[in-house]
């Protein structure tokens, strides 16, 4: 009976060519990357980013840009949990963003609760809203899911403009400038850059934990093939809801932080499809869809590029930043599906293959 592979389980460990194929029971623990083994790299990346902040700590413009880049790094990482790992193409994340923003602002303004504490109910409420909205919609796939979530944004905008007591209606809502750590209001830009770096760090660590867990694998299984996922005992709906809840909770926190930073916003601004809903997805794609560091890298490229374009061309060509971004989006979809991270990986493989052994 010629049966090399099948027989190997019973072959003596010393048999030729079977050195790395010893019997199942004698094998040592397999080389799987865990959260703990991946943590040093994440901390190194975060350390480098802190170094960047330190380097530019005197430059207000750069600090502002960095703060925005970190905010979007976090938001896009959060989107990536359900959009990248889970493959559920949500265009409605600005709704959860706005829920977080209004929860934080209202608790602070009306109940005097410190924004630091209000972020917790903001996250919870965003997750709850996300679950309630997506529960029925998760029956839809691909573009139809995207359309439905896009419609959520529209409904939320109408409601936001209507519910003046919570959102200030079309006139918007503003938070008075009262300095203080407890109020999360600072004069210097460095504090905001650090605040947003903290948010990006939180999101990165959550993403890493999800990716290196059963949930992360289940999300990817659902993305790749729902039928196979079900046959493997995965409750597809529950996995999608869990991914969505986590993603929305982080997005809600981001919304709260954003509102406390800008201190004035109306529903149209918070629920803007281009400025938030789509941008989360766009950054993730450009960085690397469904990768751990992609959204972070994407934000560090896209946001500074945008702020540079706005500064250079904003007055001359209105919408110049969005023109460039949309070109990047189309080109990335056509030629760089795995984003910056994917391209770097490919370069790395080519480079290492070229080196003679």
């Amino acid at each position: 009976m010629i049966n090399p592979d099948g027989a190997s389980a019973f072959a003596p460990a010393s048999s030729a060519g079977a050195a790395d194929r010893t019997g199942p029971r004698t094998r040592s623990a397999p080389r799987v990357k865990t959260f703990a083994s991946e943590l040093p790299r994440a901390l190194l990346v975060l350390g480098l980013l802190s170094g960047l902040v330190y380097l530019y700590s005197g430059d207000t413009f750069t600090l502002n840009t960095l703060a925005a880049a970190f905010l979007f790094a976090g938001l896009s990482s959060a989107w990536n949990i359900i959009g990248g790992f889970g493959g559920q193409f949500s265009l409605g994340h600005s709704v959860f963003f706005a829920v977080g923003a209004y929860t934080t602002a209202n608790l602070y303004l009306k109940a005097g609760i410190s924004p630091w504490i209000a972020l917790a109910p903001a996250a919870l409420l965003a997750a709850l809203v996300a679950c309630l909205l997506s529960w029925p919609v998760f029956r839809l796939r691909g573009p139809f899911f995207a359309i439905a979530t896009m419609a959520f944004t529209e409904v939320a905008l109408a409601l936001g403009n209507y519910m003046e007591s919570i959102t200030g209606g079309t006139r918007g809502m503003s938070i008075p400038f009262r300095l203080g750590f407890a109020n999360m209001i600072f004069r210097d830009r460095l504090s905001y850059a650090l605040l947003m770096l903290g948010f990006a760090a939180l999101c990165l660590l959550v993403v890493l934990a999800v990716h290196r867990s059963r949930l992360g694998y289940y999300l990817q299984a659902v993305r790749d093939n729902e039928q196979a996922a079900r046959a493997a005992g995965i409750s597809v709906l529950r996995v999608k809801l869990m991914g969505m809840a986590l993603s929305a909770a982080l997005t809600g926190i981001g919304g709260g932080l954003f509102f406390m930073q800008v201190r004035v916003a109306d529903p149209a601004a918070l629920l803007s499809l281009f400025e938030f809903g789509v941008k989360f997805a766009l950054i993730a794609l450009i960085g690397g869809l469904g990768t751990i560091y992609g959204p972070l890298l994407g934000a560090l490229v896209v946001i500074p590029l945008e702020s540079w374009l706005r500064a250079e061309l904003g007055g001359i060509v209105p919408g110049a930043n969005l023109i460039v971004l949309s070109l990047c989006l189309i080109l990335a979809a056509l030629f760089m599906k795995h984003g910056i991270v994917g391209s770097l990986q490919r370069l790395f493989t080519i480079a290492t293959r070229r080196i003679p052994r």
Partner: protein, 242 residues
């Protein structure tokens, strides 16, 4: 036979006017290896889908471990111990081979390391250990088939349903899969196998069920069934024609 692991009670499936499965009943006891044969389009895959929950039966019941599972979702049935492969492999193409199997192993091994360890064991069993870190999307057909079997086995199922796992494999590969199934069967695993290769069926099956036009045509030992003139006419005659 009321204690059999899997009891199929008069299941039927209609697609509009087409009756794909028509009042099929049989049992599979723990530790058995039962084959299902029948011409293409007879309704074998549809029957599997009724057993594992991808489709809801139009009539009839499926009992597993004396529990009626007819209304349960596919994932609930997998959790209870029904593992299966698909005729058209359903590979998780963006994950690596070992990660594909881990997705199955997670059912009973929550931790990442435990699941990975279990997955590697199973990969050894099916002879894919040296491909563990390859992206599953680039596997050959025969490797994909074995990967499907591995993912099903990683569920630690009480019964495994294999849908034409040998189709499209060369004789050597068929030999490998056959001895894998025989070995696992000898270890006490229960199998229900859809198979076209009659040589294979004759070799391993204690019991063969013949499905034709959605209905059960015959059931019995391989010798008896394959000698039955009705089966020869329906199955072999038809097969030669296609």
């Amino acid at each position: 036979m009321s204690g059999a692991l899997l009891q199929v009670r008069g299941v039927a499936k209609r697609f509009g006017g087409l009756v794909a499965v028509n009042d099929v009943s049989f049992d599979v006891a723990r530790g058995e290896l039962v084959s299902i044969i029948g011409p293409n389009g007879a309704g074998k895959t549809t029957l599997f889908n009724l057993l594992t929950g991808q489709l809801a039966p139009s009539a009839g019941q499926v009992l597993f471990d004396v529990q009626d599972i007819s209304a349960l979702s596919p994932n609930r049935r997998a959790q209870l111990g029904l593992g299966r492969t698909f005729q058209i492999s359903q590979t998780l193409t963006s994950l690596s081979v070992v990660e594909n199997v881990m997705v199955g192993a997670f059912l009973h091994h929550r931790g990442l390391k435990d699941a990975a360890r279990r997955a590697e064991e199973v990969l050894h069993l099916v002879g894919l250990a040296d491909r563990a870190d390859v992206r599953a999307g680039i596997l050959t057909l025969s490797e994909r088939r074995r990967l499907e079997v591995a993912r099903a086995l990683a569920l630690d199922p009480q019964i495994v349903l294999l849908d034409e796992v040998m189709a499209g494999l060369n004789p050597n590969e068929v030999q490998e899969v056959v001895s894998l199934v025989e070995r696992l069967h000898a270890e006490g695993h229960t199998f229900l196998v859809i198979e076209h290769n009659l040589k294979v069926v004759r070799r391993f099956s204690e019991r063969v069920i013949v499905i034709e036009r959605g209905a059960k045509l015959a059931e019995g030992t391989a010798e008896d069934v394959l000698a039955d003139p009705r089966v020869v006419e329906a199955y072999i005659g038809r097969k030669r024609a296609t």
